[in-house]
């Protein structure tokens, strides 16, 4: 034992105070457990609250507003001299982050969760050490929950310096709008933040190794996104491999195209968004007996149990969809199992990309449904035919329902369009309740809303749509 170290004991220790960790800690405390929550950073809330979901949505909204008012002449609105004060925008965003992270700290305190700051490392399957600049705390626990999250993946030849080569974190706190922004990777982070800077006035080029945008989603989704990127004058370079970086003023990103041709992109700033890696290094997983898969994600069962008895893992660090709401649910499952409840993860995970237009989906895609042996029927309603979409001047996109043609059970929903994130929860509920097409078709959707498109798409799958011509 190191001199000056403190030894502590608790029933459950939770490592990481992101959406998985803080929810697990609070729920465990609610279930009567004595909980210590360990967080490496100064603030709680993890990537989601500090440098992820929330701050990016704040900037997305602000940039959308700027873009919208600057393009509202057809509605009779002309704005003279619209200027973007990025430092002010970032300050507003930081205020939101501050409110939310302190809110999490407040909730932890109110629920009796003790927070210990520092980096945790297992020394055995019942003990870990939390090291910070000031001290070293040994914590003996009965059970542990690993919720250490994920971080952006790096790409060889593109050394992160936080100024010329940045990640999503820095992209949320730039002090000026870069004239030329090159985004490497057309995943959801690259698309979301690339769109933000395009709307704020940057000339954005996106370099993507794969031949399609969102290749796992319905082909219509990629088409709709590509169309909008073109409208924003974003250069989308698919099937291009980012090869090297030449610093300078401007710097140059060298990429290789599908016909082996070399392309050079001038860049004031390069943003890397090529994927994310689990945070498992330095955790001492071996000492605890916790195993990982070949990509480093911790392997768990549907009770969120790892290979080490009494040790659980949740959130991004276990892989799957790297989404805060998946982590929330896994946190509640782990807490329930620890408290002796018969909990297990069996939920559908909806997903949203806050591009313009938004993309949201849940359940099975058309291809997946066919792979599972369903005789598939689909119905699709375009927002071009929606009164609400017209009144919002946002008629891009559609809602598509995927169902079993024989049983008429709803299997999945894909939506592209403004505000579709707000009603994908309804589709998720329908799927969780085992809804049949008629269940949704016979449910009144308020008019005029974007959510009517879900009802129309489903009526379309039944061959009963009223506001479009049935196929």
């Amino acid at each position: 034992m190191v001199v000056g170290s403190v030894s502590r004991g608790c029933q459950v220790v939770v490592i990481g105070a992101g959406p998985g960790g803080y929810v697990a800690a609070i729920r465990l405390a609610q279930l009567g457990k004595d909980v210590i929550l360990v967080e490496k950073n100064a603030t709680l809330g993890g990537v989601c609250l500090n440098v992820g979901c929330i701050p990016s949505k704040a900037l997305i909204h602000a940039s959308e507003l700027a873009h919208e008012v600057a393009h509202a002449e057809n509605m009779g609105l002309s704005i003279e001299g619209l200027s973007v004060d990025l430092p002010k925008m970032v300050e507003w965003k930081d205020g939101i982050v501050e409110r939310l992270t302190s809110g999490v700290a407040f909730l932890c305190k109110q629920n009796g969760v003790e927070v210990v700051h520092g980096a945790a490392e297992f020394v055995s399957d019942r003990k870990l050490v939390v090291a910070s600049e000031d001290d070293r705390v040994e914590i003996e626990f009965e059970q542990a929950v690993i919720a250490t999250g994920s971080r952006p993946m790096a790409l060889d030849g593109f050394p992160h310096d936080g100024e010329k080569i940045i990640g999503s974190t820095e992209a949320l706190s730039l002090q000026s709008v870069p004239e030329r922004l090159v985004v490497i990777g057309a995943g959801y982070i690259g698309l979301e933040l690339g769109t933000v800077y395009a709307k704020l006035g940057s000339k954005v080029s996106i370099v993507e190794f794969l031949p399609k945008v969102m290749p796992d989603l319905d082909a219509e989704v990629g088409k709709a996104l590509t169309r909008q990127l073109k409208k924003l004058k974003v250069g989308l370079h698919l099937s291009h491999r980012a090869e090297s970086f030449e610093p300078g003023d401007p710097s140059v990103v060298v990429a290789r195209g599908p016909k082996d041709e070399e392309l050079r992109f001038d860049a004031d700033v390069v943003m890397m968004s090529v994927g994310r890696l689990p945070n498992v290094e330095g955790l001492g997983l071996d000492a605890a007996g916790v195993t990982t898969d070949e990509k480093g994600f911790i392997t768990v069962n549907d009770k969120m149990q790892t290979s080490a008895p009494g040790i659980y893992a949740i959130g991004d660090v276990v892989g799957g969809a790297l989404l805060a709401h998946k982590a929330y649910q896994e946190a509640k499952v782990a807490a329930g199992v620890i408290a002796g409840e018969p909990a297990a993860f069996d939920s559908l995970v909806p997903a949203v990309i806050y591009t313009d237009p938004e993309v949201a989906w849940v359940g099975l895609g058309e291809g997946e449904a066919k792979e599972q042996g369903h005789n598939v029927v689909t119905g699709s309603f375009p927002f071009k035919a929606s009164g609400r979409a017209m009144s919002l001047d946002s008629t891009d996109g559609f809602v598509k329902a995927i169902a079993d043609a024989d049983t008429k059970q709803l299997l999945g929903v894909v939506a592209v369009g403004r505000g579709v994130s707000e009603f994908i929860g309804e589709a998720t509920l329908a799927l969780e309740m085992g809804a049949f097409l008629e269940d949704v078709a016979l449910t009144i959707h308020p008019h005029p809303t974007m959510s009517e498109a879900l009802q129309e798409a489903i009526e379309g799958a039944l061959g009963q749509a009223v506001h479009m011509v049935n196929k």
Binding site: P342, A343, D346, Q372, T407, K408, G434, F436
Partner: protein, 415 residues
Amino acid sequence: MFVFNFPDVGEGIHEGRVVEWLVAEGDPVTEDQPLVKVETDKAVVELPSPHTGTVLRLHAAADAEIFVGDPLVTIGSPDEELPEEVAGEKESAAAPSTSPKAVGPEAPAPQTGVARRPLATPRTRALARKLGVDLQQISGSGSGGRITDEDLQRAADGGGPAPPAPTAPSAPVGVVAATADGEVERVPITHLRKMIANAMRASKHNAAHVTHVDEADVTDLVEHYRRSKPVIEERSGVRLTLLPFFIKALVTNLQKYPIFNASVDEEKQEILYKKYYNIGIAVDTPEGLIVPVIRDADSKNLVELAGEVADKAERARSRELSLDEIRGGSCTITNIGPLGGVFATPIINQPELAIVGLHAIKERPEVVNGEIAIRKMMYLSISFDHRYIDGAEAARFMSDLVRLVSEPMVLMARL
């Protein structure tokens, strides 16, 4: 290893009761060998083994209520280790490769290897975890096959491991308890009784029942019957009764009045005139009413009909009828006469539209050609669904039926 689930034996039957296991755990079985007797709707069926192998586990106790899709038996090789939870490793939970003895349509096609989400709400899925019930093994009784909380409760209550030596069910034994009014014996309602209760209530609820009664002078018919009976019995070895004559008379009359041999597709609002004459015969058994069906009665002679009626009545009483033998009727006869009474108002055996009651034959003074004579008289009734058949039509139908049974030569001419 193969888990044999209670298959869909057709005709909308989704539950049954294990009557008797014909094999025990550890027994070798061959394909098609009967495994278990299961009481469904109105019959006891023997389910044959879909595979050759060894019985590793019986999943339902004798007398247990089972639902379509419930695991019945696990068959594998003798040295195979039985996993704690068979669910994850079983073959597709679909129908066996062999049908149970004489059943209707096959169960739905097997699913692909990819596990589909069970059709149950999050709350029900949580309850399944609490009760330790595998949702993949449950066939839902809710809307569109949704698994309900009640389905789970039933599975949890009835799905225990089989006892070491399954035995045939004993007669229901009641629990006698003293009440303020005296002793009361509480006896559980049998599966068959529940089925009868539901069918009767549904028929009374759905159909517009009217009973029309007519009377027939069957003196001549009885005379012919008495004369021919010893000859026929000697030649055929079959005991002849009067019932086959009435079956023939009914079929002849149904050919003239097809609406009495019909049913109705309520959903499509169409009348289904049956081009076959499958006559149900209500049989009184110790456990309750069972209605075996004489198929294609129009193409069978009196001796064949007599033999078949006797055989099916006997097997109804011993509960050995297959499902095929109790379904598919187009019109029904209830022969209540031998038990006495004047006449009754039977309930229609839905989805049929009519049931003919044969009541007691009694000698009564009648006026024949202006003189009083002792004649053999009987009441014949028809209960019909007035939604689709009018009273006048029923009166004409009965008047013709009366004529057929009153004048055997007319009947013979039509046969």
